[in-house]
């Protein structure tokens, strides 16, 4: 007869295939990438050990800093703005639409707003690049029709507007995700709190701010975490729409490392950028998870 301890040990076997393949593929590849970041290598021949040289060059590379600056700007467009918009829209859907007009309309709204999430980012990028094309694009056509022809700019072709245009697209992509998470979060909230506030004469907006938002802290934390990580990883749209340009106006770390891997074939340099990005993301995720725990305790 097997005792409980023996049984627990038997369970380890079930983790073996997953853990071993994950360690080999992800762990192995990442360690190899870190190793490459200490080398000078063109992708063929033998890598030459150069120690910290790649990292020293990175610190002095203006484009490296610019790319990270853009990644942080994308945190606004992909994380902060969609979270703020999402929570408001979700509350409106939950408190007004679902209550007065039924589930069909609320489902229609959620699906429509979620569609951009389901399309692959490069295809979304292709679609938007087409919509934003300066002469025949739909965006500029509409601007001209409504008498704002002076705003009909070459959105992706000018350094001053390219980041802005990408950011608008990102908000369009992301709000569907935040809305779906927040609507589902609202269904677990305590309705009595809201009703009590209502009896006390609180307006809808006061209830939203004081009753709803604090109860949604767990969802807000998760959404901020996942979308911030996604913002720092942006690659597809930049690849399809701007190639990091014009100049380096939309350069981001992911594209910058890809560029060095496969265009300049400075593999060690690309590996150093990717390593920095990986460490930054891990640190950020750990930091946000801690914050989430703290917010959880505060409630």
């Amino acid at each position: 007869m097997t005792t409980k301890v023996q049984q627990t040990k038997q369970y380890y076997w079930y983790a073996v295939p997953g853990v071993v393949s994950f360690a080999a593929l992800v762990g192995g590849a990442f360690l190899y990438n870190v190793y490459l970041s200490f080398n000078s290598w063109q992708g063929i021949g033998t890598p030459e050990w150069v120690g910290l040289e790649n990292y020293q060059n990175l610190i002095q590379d203006r484009v490296f800093w610019v790319s990270f600056l853009h990644a942080f700007q994308f945190i606004f467009a992909m994380s902060i703005a969609p979270t703020a918009i999402g929570i408001l829209i979700a509350a409106l859907i939950y408190d007004f639409i679902a209550r007065y007009f039924g589930n069909a309309i609320s489902t229609f709204l959620r699906i429509s707003l979620y569609v951009p999430q389901i399309i692959a980012l490069p295809i979304v990028g292709m679609l938007w690049a087409w919509m934003l094309s300066p002469n025949i694009g739909v965006v500029n056509t509409i601007l001209r029709e409504i008498g704002l022809g002076s705003l009909a700019l070459n959105w992706l072709g000018e350094a001053g507007t390219a980041m802005f245009a990408l950011s608008i697209m990102m908000i369009w992509i992301q709000v569907g995700y935040t809305i779906v998470i927040f609507v589902s979060g609202m269904s677990r909230l305590d309705p009595y709190l809201d009703e009590a506030a209502q009896l006390d004469g609180a307006t809808w907006f006061q209830r939203f701010r004081i009753v709803t938002i604090p109860q949604l802290y767990p969802e807000i934390a998760v959404v901020l975490l996942t979308t911030t990580v996604a913002a720092l990883k942006v690659f597809g749209p930049v690849y399809v729409m701007t190639n990091g340009g014009p100049g380096d106006a939309t350069q981001v770390p992911a594209y910058f490392s890809y560029f060095h891997f496969f265009s300049t074939t400075r593999v060690g340099y690309g590996a150093a950028i990717a390593t920095v990005l990986a460490l930054l993301l891990t640190a950020l995720a750990i930091g946000l998870l801690r914050l989430q725990r703290k917010m959880g305790l505060m409630r």
Partner: protein, 280 residues
């Protein structure tokens, strides 16, 4: 005195309804504009512009584009890759999550933390090693390379999600089975697997669409035309076949239709998965 009754609508709900429907239409507008232009003849586009509804619906671009990029082949590749990835990843995640969530093995927090790395490490930090290793193993430019890579990479999210589901599994059921002398394998087969089947389906659906939309790794791994997936082919080869604006609209439409159709069919399943993943 407040006599506001909850059921009384008033004006505000209609205002909210109007604004939200407007917002939804704005959100659907890019798809709509791609749709009407995809069916417009190039002449009509030049004459009436991008906003006009086509007078004459032109289907010829699709056939042309479809055969020029060999879209059937791309669809088959995408379906094969996404389906196999979903199967492999669900299988591996289920077993690992079983050890963590049901077996409660020692060090399970560490194992989970280790899988969380998949979430933070960007694919760029894996791509060059994967690229050079796949060349040595002769898996380069072979769809099996990305099947293996995504099959394993996806277990990060899968293990996290399934272990949190399994850790809420009713203890009495497991205890009763153990007292009856059921082995871990028996418990897996007769109790856990049947009860978790719907969740596994949700997870497989998510893996399918995630893999379908992947871009960087296919871009690096699958240079030749015959091996490309839909997402990759749309992003890299369409330029050659889309000289005029209506052809670009048609390309975008063909590119996103599979995902949208899949989403409309599995909408409920996917939504469940997305919210399940966010807050357990």
């Amino acid at each position: 005195m407040r006599t506001q009754v909850k059921r009384k609508k008033g004006f505000a709900p209609y205002l909210v309804l109007g604004s939200l429907i407007t917002m939804a239409l704005v959100w659907l507008f890019p798809m709509f504009i791609a749709f009407i232009n995809a069916f417009k003849t190039p002449q009509e586009f030049v004459q009436n512009g991008v906003l006009a509804i086509p007078n004459e619906w032109d289907f010829s671009k699709f056939g042309k584009f479809w055969s020029e990029v060999d879209f059937t082949k791309k669809l088959m590749n995408s379906v094969q890759v996404s389906l196999l990835v979903a199967l492999i990843a669900v299988f591996l995640s289920f077993l690992t999550a079983y050890a963590i969530g049901i077996g409660r093995v020692k060090g399970r927090t560490w194992i989970l933390g280790f899988f969380m790395v998949a979430f933070t490490i960007p694919q760029e930090a894996l791509i060059y090693p994967l690229y050079s290793i796949s060349k040595t193993l002769s898996l380069y430019d072979n769809i099996w390379s990305i099947i293996i890579i995504f099959g394993v990479l996806s277990t990060g999210f899968g293990t996290y999600l399934l272990s949190s589901v399994m850790s809420t599994f009713p203890d009495e059921l497991l205890e009763a089975a153990r007292i009856d002398g059921a082995s871990p394998w028996r418990i897996l087969r007769s109790i856990v697997l049947p009860l978790l089947r719907p969740t596994l389906f949700v997870l497989a659906t998510m893996f399918f669409i995630f893999t379908w939309n992947e871009f960087l790794i296919p871009l690096v791994m699958l240079p030749s035309n015959d091996n490309q997936t839909v997402t990759l082919a749309m992003a890299v080869t369409t330029g050659q076949f889309t000289s005029d604006s209506t052809a670009r609209a048609a390309a975008a439409l063909i590119g996103f239709m599979p995902s949208v159709i899949f989403f409309l069919i599995f909408q409920r399943t996917l939504m469940r998965g997305i919210t399940m993943g966010a807050v357990k």
